[in-house]
């Protein structure tokens, strides 16, 4: 068979590989996938002073955005200003628009403290629930056993999820983001080693009875 395509660039391959993993883990909430290496992006560790950057989390979020979408960043429980060097760094590489948090399609949260900002993201409307935000949040360590019990579409019965550094209060913000389905925010959690879990708004999260 004659083929007629150019070889995809490293970034295009990265975006496709990442997307299949994100699609897989959003379809099967609680299933932990390993995101590919992001060394080629050379994400500076001190992009936001005083906060450690999780390059896997930032790159996964960036892989979905372009000039048609908006993306907002948050660290230490506050939104990062539009003209902050970190926002400029992301804009330069993705062309994503910088808009107010309530109008952003994507949010990249540097830490679990920033989960407190989830309520200010767009949750969509009943007629257009898809006009809602997707949040990527960096966490310390994810495991397939632990405090939280997930159920809903994509899960056979229930599944366990452990997040090493999230408090009940912080988890409460994620739980609240799905209290009025079909409105809500879809969340991806990415740990320091690039392990990722998807929590679509259809997933119910409760504290497991055994822990």
């Amino acid at each position: 068979m004659n083929t007629a395509f150019r070889t995809p660039t490293a970034y295009e391959v990265f975006c496709t590989t990442t997307y299949r993993l994100l699609l897989d883990c959003l379809s099967r909430p609680g299933t932990i996938v390993q995101l590919p290496s992001v060394e080629f992006l050379a994400v500076p560790t001190d992009l936001i002073a005083g906060s450690t950057t999780n390059p896997f989390c930032l790159a996964a979020c960036m892989s979905l955005v372009d000039q048609e979408t908006s993306m907002v960043l948050a660290a230490a429980g506050g939104w990062v200003a539009e003209h902050h060097p970190a926002a400029a760094w992301v804009h330069l590489r993705t062309n994503a628009r910088r808009s107010a948090a309530s109008e952003s399609a994507f949010a990249c949260l540097w830490d679990v403290a920033s989960l407190a900002l989830l309520p200010s993201l767009s949750h969509g409307s009943l007629t257009f629930p898809e006009r809602s935000a997707t949040a990527f949040c960096a966490v310390d360590v994810l495991s397939e056993s632990g405090t939280w019990e997930l159920s809903g579409p994509g899960i056979q019965t229930t599944t366990a999820l452990g997040i090493s550094n999230v408090t009940s209060e912080q988890m409460g913000y994620i739980q609240a983001s799905r209290s009025s389905f079909p409105l809500g925010v879809d969340v991806f959690l990415v740990d320091a080693t690039g392990k990722c879990v998807g929590l679509p708004r259809s997933t119910r999260i409760v504290r497991s009875r055994t822990s």
Binding site: V13, L23, P182
Partner: protein, 294 residues
């Protein structure tokens, strides 16, 4: 094809921004099982209405490492399947297969393969009509509001009236279902035979309608309940004593075709065979058949 034309297209034909747009809408579709998510639906060298929705989903998700299977009415060799497969292989170079078990992505028109699909496989369905409410509410804006409010009363009335007028539920294909207890979804022109095979499936199903510019999804392990009444149950096309005339299978979806008279004595007659052609061949091979015999 001349040398300078060997690299004129992007990998997967559509450009990266178009792929990203489909990808973003598919994530929403997965998070909202059964909800129709609008997408841009780009122009393709195939007319809208000929599988361009499914095609754009496949183009947006496919990677060089994938193994692709494309079927039309269950058949790998039908004209729609052959053309879409050719476009996809020309622009991605991926390997293709007719074996359901060997594929990572299966793009299909009108059927779900007979063989049980696994967790690591993705089914992409080409959708002609997206909205199950179209029969009762042709206005798209009003139907969108009805979906938003889960206001499905008129559809139940339609079902009831079909029982009153015809004596049974008068829906052949496009059978309406409720997904994950919330959204009413059209099951595309898959036969009723396949409808329950979407229920709590191991695989992810992605639906794309290029002409109507919508995508939707049924994640794995998600409830898919056909609309039915206690006294008028959902029924598949199964007929007592049905049998494929080639492989002898009694548990597959069958299609009929006419065999012309070969001589003066033997009249022409109808026969039924498996609609999933590669599954039928597999059964035949297991019975010691080789292609040369037919």
């Amino acid at each position: 094809m001349t040398e300078q034309h060997t690299n004129i297209y992007n990998f997967g034909f559509i450009d990266e921004d178009s792929k990203r747009e489909v990808r973003r809408q598919l994530l929403k579709a997965v998070a909202l099982p059964g909800h129709q998510v609008p997408f841009a639906s780009r122009d393709l060298p195939i007319g809208r209405g000929w599988g361009t929705g499914g095609l754009q989903i496949t183009m947006a998700i496919i990677a060089a490492s994938d193994t692709l299977k494309v079927i039309d009415q269950g058949d790998d060799e039908s004209v729609n399947a052959v053309n879409l497969r050719r476009l996809l292989t020309r622009t991605t170079g991926v390997s293709t297969t007719v074996d359901t078990q060997a594929a990572t992505i299966i793009q299909t028109r009108h059927r779900i393969p007979e063989e049980q699909m696994r967790e690591d496989q993705i089914l992409v369905l080409q959708v002609p009509m997206v909205d199950p409410l179209r029969w009762v509410e042709p206005n798209l804006e009003r139907a969108t509001v009805m979906h938003g409010e889960a206001d499905y009363g008129r559809m139940w009335v339609y079902m009831y009236e079909s029982v009153i007028k015809a004596g049974d539920i008068r829906i052949a294909t496009q059978y309406p279902v409720i997904v994950a207890g919330r959204y009413m979804m059209d099951t595309t022109p898959i036969p009723r035979w396949d409808v329950l095979r979407l229920h709590n499936a191991d695989h992810l199903s992605l639906f794309g309608a290029g002409r109507e510019k919508r995508v939707y999804a049924v994640p794995p392990y998600t409830t898919v309940e056909p609309l039915e009444f206690e006294d008028f149950r959902f029924k598949t096309e199964y007929a007592e004593g049905q049998r494929c005339h080639r492989c002898g299978a009694t548990n597959t979806f069958l299609t009929g075709h006419f065999v012309k008279s070969t001589g003066t004595d033997e009249p022409g007659h109808w026969v039924t065979s498996c609609s999933d052609a590669s599954y039928c061949d597999k059964q035949m091979v297991a019975q010691g058949w080789t292609e040369a015999q037919e």
